[in-house]
């Protein structure tokens, strides 16, 4: 069975989710797969993200048509009508061409039927196995049958077959018979042994009998093949590689031809090692070492059977594939204690950063783990060590993981906040690093405030040894050398190793299956100017698949990959005009007196045992609007729903309340039920009566009365809300002008424009300069030796020839009004004044290399900026061969007050120019004065290379800047070398200043579009992690250098991500609002306008013509700030009006605890 999806997204971490949501929101059906049994990737384990130090993942949820994803917390799961999830699933092959791929998937089984599992945990309780819990990074233990992520919804248990000892106790214990070990399949799992070894057949028959598999044996290859051909139930073949006359490869091929699903187990002696490997690649499933040891072989064969019998193979027809494979974190190897002097797994106080986050986590092993692991005393000092498993050629890692510095700062801040003693004094936090790579736009300020406001200590050093403290056995003694060369010792309670990112273990296999190449570091090979492109057309890289990235950049990469996928889908399998699904016909019951049907799910024995059901039902029945209370068996299953529907048809209620578990999971079902009954789902609700019951069920002597009251109150409150549910109003929808405006015709603007225009929507680019191109036109080369000029020339040509793109150069925006879907903008330029109607706007106004005005920049020709140097070297104006020495000063007038951000590209620029210089003339002496070299990611190898080439790097800090003077026009630089502790002086031929970049001045434009700027003049995004290219004002997006400094590839990515966000608006004829939106009761409104002031989304405005306040339902996100500030409830939030809330309060207090 082949299912068709527009796109397949591999990897359900945040990047995969973002890519899937981006596509789903534009109306595409997406298959989202993950090899793990849960979604969320690494972030299921991390509760706090920099730079907000909070979670905020829910901010990824759709902003319009919010109800199509029926959920609130992204960490609990993902429910979107256009996304199908396949967990425990791997991509095994990808055939066909872009636009018409066939993807082969193998879905492993959890052995627990999620439709039956009620999450009671009885299985886990009886499981005798205890292994370290992956979720808690090994800080706690779990059973073989376990919950992979405790907060997922729906959350069913999973059998970890690798650790299962096959005692079947869980199967026996499960109250709902949800655990299936395929006992019935054994009788038809015919097993054939092909071996001529004397006695083997007899002994094998003996132990295979225990497995209940019917068994046969053959001693010749031909006979075995015949048996394979004849026995229709033959499922497993044990093939002895010593079988006389066996041509192993041919035999295997033939066998699999006869039976593609056949489980082939090779019996191989040590001499067959190589052959066995080959055969495994050719489709054999398993290798057992000869001589066979039944004790080892039986469990392996049984598990092989279980997997083979339970797994599913899927074939999907997809137009595009997005790989969002993420990264693994490095595990400092405990065996290599000699090399790893940090004592990980040896000294109890040494933990990885992931483990530390689990220690801090609310869902972690508990607050008591925040004591010293050695002796349980409170943690008062924490130290972080950077670059563990990154930038370590000794460990074969030539790259920087890009994220660990910021993670450590975040952890240090959290530690300061959470680890306080009884006097409120925070624990000491120290970060040891060589470079603090805070290269994100606002990250330098984050670091500065960590140091100056929060009191985190930063030490430029690499700790090399941790050992038990001689003075305090529970503490660790750290030895390190400070920058001046002095050996220091200090004690700490915890040492956190900031472990780096590694390519996922299974990435090579996945790359083979998807037929894409990996780079030398083991991540996906991507294009330099186009990081979302892999080596295979139609397969795109999202998130950290191509390189380690932080959340914001992963999401940008995901958006870019989604845009690429969408473009392909649009070309090869164009989506039919997105037709709004017809709203089901609902009867108008708003004016009827409420009649409620209450259905209580009693499939789970817990509720029955915890409360007096009869009393509860009687109590509910006496409630005024209730017409019937019914018990439903298995409310979560199809028969259960049918029963509810049946009851509803019989009793004709106009409200339905279901008392069950996991309300989120029911929302899609309520929608279906509503359609079937003609009753709007707004008149139905699910109350969770199960969670309190479960909690109580675990207590020794649960107070049944208190519990009964709690359950009744829960239902009664839902009832109160439901009874007062408002008359149905049509959901708001606004028509969309399906055109885009892009302000700025540089790299980002053009990239975004092409992306949108390729989908068939007209785009206008407004560029203030005479020609397209912007700042990127000044670049001559890249660090990796690519040709930016050619890339830009191609892009300009593409834009100019594009039938859907109109370019207005020498033009400016003078006025803009409107909102998502309907903007009206006046543009003035060479071609006169024009008014553009457009549904979405992308601001890509770029920036420029910052100017320097001091140190003789203008006066002395020997002083250049990096870009000038690059240009002069490229043009030949400057002859490297004629230079004896060059000095570069990094962070020139940046990363300090005034321009306190890292420009991110200057270290790359310096390295690039330095390489050019040294390649042309290896004799040049190059001196680089730097504060922190920001050679993040794979750029690190160029830094290493630069040092190898002989460039000398001299660190300085703000208190000790290099002093520049000029002798007859020749620069003379005096600086202190911190290593030698001496002043040095050099007189280079030229002095190159890394002046960094600054955004173009867009204050006016920002005001016209109603969008904010950062204090440095960059665009301020809606949320720094989760909405990196959105403005808070929906419908306006940002891209490129005006958003944040970055290299060309990064700007292309943000441009594509912005284009994808814009496409979400353009892809439909109308924008639909959510159900929970604010309204105005005009007859009550006094027009004080306080609701306008407090609305964070600008969704409210005073309509001066009508003299009343209007709410834009598309912009409104349903926060209700307006309702609380409005004194007489003229501002109302649908679903949360006063009557409903006050009704619930009454209901809550009807029976006091």
């Amino acid at each position: 069975m082949k299912t068709t999806y527009a796109a397949l997204v591999v990897g359900a971490g945040v990047a995969g989710i973002r890519a899937a949501l981006d596509l789903a929101e534009t109306g595409q059906k997406v298959a989202l797969v993950d090899r793990k049994p849960h979604l969320g990737g690494l972030l299921t384990q991390l509760d706090y993200q920099f730079p907000t130090n909070a979670c905020g993942m829910c901010k990824m949820l759709p902003l319009t048509e919010r109800d199509s994803s029926s959920q609130f917390c992204m960490r609990k799961g993902l429910f979107h009508k256009n996304i199908d999830m396949f967990l425990s699933t791997e991509l095994t092959g990808l055939d066909g061409d872009p636009g018409q791929f066939t993807a082969f998937l193998r879905q492993g089984s959890s052995f627990v039927d999620p439709t039956k599992c009620i999450g009671c945990g009885a299985c886990s309780a009886v499981c005798p196995v205890r292994v370290p819990s992956e979720f808690n990074a090994g800080l706690t233990e779990r059973a073989a049958v376990h919950l992979p992520v405790p907060h997922n919804i729906p959350n069913s248990y999973v059998v970890d077959l690798d650790h299962c000892i096959r005692c079947w106790r869980c199967h026996e214990t499960c109250p709902t018979e949800a655990i299936d070990f395929q006992f019935n399949r054994r009788a038809t799992f015919h097993t054939l042994l092909a071996s001529a070894e004397p006695g083997l057949a007899e002994s094998a028959a003996e132990w295979i009998k225990d497995l209940l598999f019917p068994f046969a044996a053959e001693t010749a290859p031909e006979a075995a093949l015949e048996q394979i051909a004849q026995d229709e139930h033959l499922a497993m073949l044990l093939l002895d590689l010593d079988l006389p006359g066996l041509e192993p490869e041919r035999f295997l091929a033939r066998a699999l031809e006869l039976k593609p699903e056949l489980v082939v187990v090779l019996l191989a002696g040590p001499q067959h090692a190589e052959l066995a490997g080959k055969l495994k690649a050719a489709g054999a499933r398993l290798v057992l070492d000869k001589p066979l040891k039944p004790k080892a072989a039986v469990p392996v064969l049984d598990k092989t059977f279980l997997r083979a019998a339970s797994e599913k193979r899927l074939e999907l027809s997809v137009a595009a594939v997005v790989l969002a494979t993420g990264f693994d974190t490095y595990t400092p190897c405990p065996e290599s204690f000699g090399a790893d002097t940090l004592g990980y797994k040896v000294l109890p106080g040494v933990v990885t950063s992931v483990e530390f986050e689990r220690m801090l986590s609310g869902s972690g092993p508990g607050r008591d783990r925040l004591t010293r692991p050695g002796d349980g005393k409170p943690v008062r000092r924490v130290a972080w060590l950077q670059c563990v498993g990154s930038r370590d050629l000794g460990k074969g890692v030539g790259y920087c993981s890009s994220i660990c510095c910021m993670i450590s700062i975040k952890e240090a801040l959290l530690a300061r906040q959470m680890l306080k003693d009884e006097n409120g004094e925070p624990a000491a936090a120290t970060i040891f690093s060589m470079d603090m790579r805070t290269f994100g736009r606002d990250y330098q300020r984050y670091r500065d405030s960590a140091e100056e406001e929060a009191g985190v200590r930063f030490v430029k050093s690499r700790i090399h040894t941790a050992m038990p403290s001689p003075d305090d056995p529970g503490a660790l003694r750290l030895r390190y050398m400070d920058e001046s060369g002095e050996l220091k010792e200090e004690d700490t309670d915890l040492l956190v190793l900031a472990v780096g990112a590694r390519p996922p273990k299974d990435l090579p296999a996945l790359a083979r299956a998807a037929q894409v190449e990996l780079n030398e570091h083991g991540f996906l090979r991507t294009r330099h100017f186009d990081p979302s492109r892999t080596t295979r057309l139609g397969v795109f890289a999202a998130g950290s698949a191509g390189a380690p990235r932080d959340i914001a950049e992963s999401l940008i990469a995901a958006g870019a990959a989604a845009m690429e996928a969408s473009r392909l889908i649009n070309i090869y399998a164009p989506l039919k005009e997105k037709v709004a699904e017809p709203e089901p016909e609902y009867r108008d019951v708003g004016r009827e007196a409420p009649k409620v049907l209450v259905a209580l799910c009693t499939s789970c024995p817990v509720l029955e045992s915890a409360v007096d059901m009869e009393a509860l039902i009687a109590r509910l029945q006496s409630q005024p609007a209730v017409i019937a209370v019914a018990r439903i068996d298995a409310g979560c299953t199809a028969p259960g729903w049918e029963k509810i529907a049946e009851l509803a048809r019989e009793k004709r209620p106009n409200r339905i309340l279901l008392g069950a578990c996991m309300p989120y999971a029911y929302v899609p079902k309520l929608r279906e039920l509503g359609a079937a009954l003609g009753l709007n789902p707004a008149f139905m609700d699910v109350a969770d009566v199960y969670t309190p019951a479960m909690t109580a069920a675990r207590e020794e002597n649960p107070d049944r009365t208190a519990l009964g009251r709690e359950v009744f109150a829960t239902l009664n409150m839902a009832l109160a809300r439901l009874v007062r549910a408002d008359t149905l109003r049509q959901r708001s929808a606004a028509p969309v002008y399906r055109q885009a405006l892009v302000v700025g015709g540089g790299l980002a603007g053009m990239t975004a424009a092409v992306g949108i225009a390729d989908h068939g929507y007209p785009v206008t680019i407004v560029e203030s300069e005479e020609a397209l191109g912007g700042a990127a036109m000044r670049l001559r080369t890249t660090l990796e030796g690519r040709d930016p000029q050619r890339y830009m020339a191609d892009l300009v040509e593409q834009v100019e020839k594009h039938p859907n793109i109109t370019v207005r150069t020498d033009s400016r925006v003078v006025l803009s009004m409107g909102k998502a879907g309907a903007f009206s903008t006046v543009v003035y330029g060479r071609d006169g004044v024009a008014t553009l109607e457009h549904g979405t706007t992308i601001l890509a106004t770029g920036g420029r290399e910052a100017k320097v005005y001091d140190y003789g920049f203008r006066v002395h020709p020997a002083t250049l900026t990096q870009v000038e140097l690059e240009q002069r070297l490229a043009s030949g104006e400057l002859d490297a061969g004629a230079l004896g020495s060059v000095a570069m000063i990094q962070c020139w007038r940046s990363r300090e007050e005034g321009r306190n951000y890292c420009s991110r590209i200057c270290c790359a620029g310096a390295l690039k120019n330095l390489h050019t210089l040294l390649r042309k003339n290896p004799g040049i002496k190059v001196f680089v004065f730097y504060r922190d070299i920001m050679s993040y990611g794979f750029m690190e190898q160029f830094y290493t290379e630069a040092r190898r080439l002989g460039a000398i790097f001299i660190r300085y800090d703000l208190e000790n800047r290099p002093q520049v003077a000029f002798d007859n026009g020749k620069p003379r630089i005096t600086a202190r070398d911190p290593v030698l502790g001496e002043d040095i002086q050099i007189s280079p031929d030229i002095l190159v200043l890394s002046t960094g970049v600054e955004p173009n001045d867009v204050e006016e434009l920002a005001e016209q579009f109603g969008v904010p700027l950062t204090e440095d003049g960059f665009y301020r995004e809606a949320e720094p992690k989760w909405r990196p290219v959105d403005f808070l004002k929906y419908g306006v997006f940002m891209a490129g250098l005006a958003r944040a400094p970055g290299n060309m590839g990064e700007h292309v990515a943000s441009a594509k991500a912005a284009a994808e966000r814009a496409l979400r608006i353009l892809s439909g004829e109308r924008l639909d609002a959510g159900n929970v939106v604010a309204e105005v009761r005009h007859s009550l409104c006094s027009l004080c306008g306080r609701c306008i002031d407090v609305c964070p989304y600008g969704a409210r405005r005073m309509d001066l013509d009508e003299d009343r306040i209007e709410v834009d339902a598309i912009l409104c996100q349903g926060c209700g700030s307006c309702t609380a500030v409005c004194p007489n409830s003229a501002a109302v939030l649908k679903g949360f009006d006063d009557a409903q809330v006050m009704g619930s309060i009454d209901a809550a207090l009807e029976e006091l605890a």
Partner: protein, 382 residues
């Protein structure tokens, strides 16, 4: 620097001088419409919008009558468009402050209205004013009353105390007004003090060509003495009210006479809602709800939602309460509403360092916020 001028007082007739000043405003100041308290008939003083200066003969801003807080009227005169001519209003300080609050709430507009305010000597309750004015020429009575009060003598009739709100009021001067007329501490000076506080006030005053003067030193002392007396009264009132409402049941007793007529909120100048939420369908309860509540409490006091009403109103407007006392004035059952509201308002206003009416630029505390503030509310955690 405020411009200070004077207007002569002939024969100790304060009212005549005030009237003369208002006359000048209309004649020379170009004021097309002047809102001022006017004698309507026996014992009734009401604000009137005067367009013909002749009518000012009946104007009596000195009358110790305070039938309503005119801030709402000033709001009506300025809201939703231009009045079509220069307007001025004679407001008491508490009216001025309430009006400033209403401006913040977009209910009125300071742009189109010049505000003139007299030193406020206080007023009687409605009932007491009728007693006071009974059988007397009302303007004569006002004049005498003010003269005696300013001279430090007990005004006649001596046994009538001023309204409590006035006795507890520490704002006898409306500093935010465009022009103030100073009466207090002017004894023996033979003139009233006319001060402009705003550019508009100065422009207006300049047109009147009044002679310049300086602040007499006695005025400052007299004001301080007056305020000290009123503050002492106020603090005593707070003390008593706090003691009377020290617990929720005591509060319920305090409000026991409330019949839910909502007159207090109708009279309140800063309760700006077009219709109070307590009058909307939100509080239309179902019959079974009443029984439910009654069962929970064993006996339910009717009408319901009275305590909730007063508490909610405290939450809604105590920050903007100017203490004018119209709530108590309006209560049919003599619930001491003003005392309660002023006592609570003193706390809440202090908590947010907010003084209603101090400046139109000062935002109402609940319309704004800061990322770092009031950490004590969440136990110091953020």
């Amino acid at each position: 620097m405020a411009t200070t001028a004077k207007i002569e007082v002939q024969n100790g007739n304060l009212l005549q001088s005030v009237q003369a000043f208002l006359h000048m405003l209309m004649d020379d100041g170009g004021v097309a419409g002047l809102l001022t308290p006017l004698h309507m008939g026996p014992g009734v003083v009401m604000p009137a919008l005067v367009t013909e200066p002749e009518r000012l003969k009946q104007a009596d801003p000195l009358a110790p009558a305070f039938p309503l807080n005119a801030a709402r009227i000033a709001a009506k005169l300025t809201r939703g468009g231009s009045p079509g001519g220069t307007l001025a209003a004679v407001l008491r300080p508490c009216e001025m402050r309430a009006f400033t609050e209403l401006v913040k709430l977009n209910q009125g507009n300071l742009e189109d209205l010049a505000i003139v305010s007299l030193d406020c000597l206080g007023a009687y309750t409605n009932a007491d004013y009728r007693t006071f004015a009974a059988g007397r020429e009302p303007r004569e009575a006002s004049n005498q009353w003010a003269g005696q009060l300013l001279a430090g003598r007990s005004p006649d009739p001596a046994d009538l105390p001023l309204a409590k709100a006035c006795r507890a009021c520490e704002h006898p001067v409306a500093t935010g007004a465009d022009i103030t007329l100073g009466l207090i501490g002017m004894r023996g000076a033979g003139h009233l003090l006319v001060k402009a506080h705003t550019p508009r006030g100065e422009a207006l005053l300049a047109k009147l060509r009044l002679p310049d003067t300086a602040d007499p030193t006695a005025r400052k002392d007299a004001l301080a003495e007056l305020v000290a007396g009123r503050t002492a009264f106020r603090d005593e009132m707070f003390e008593k009210t706090r003691a009377a409402t020290a617990s929720m049941p005591q509060l319920a007793d305090y409000l026991a006479a409330c019949v839910g007529c909502y007159n207090c909120r109708a009279a309140c100048p800063v309760c700006y809602c077009r219709e109070c939420v307590f009058l909307t369908d939100v509080f239309d309860h179902k019959p079974w709800q009443y029984l439910g509540w009654a069962k929970g409490k064993s006996a339910l006091r009717m009408p319901t939602d009275t305590v909730l009403f007063h508490l909610t109103r405290l939450a809604h407007m105590s920050l903007s309460c100017v203490g004018c006392g119209q709530c108590s004035n309006a209560c049919p059952n003599d619930v001491p509403v003003m005392e309660l509201f002023r006592t609570v308002a003193a706390r809440t206003q202090e908590a947010f360092a907010y003084e209603p009416g101090r400046s139109p630029d000062e935002p109402i505390p609940l319309s704004v916020f800061q990322a770092k503030e009031f950490a004590e509310i969440t136990g110091g955690r953020d």
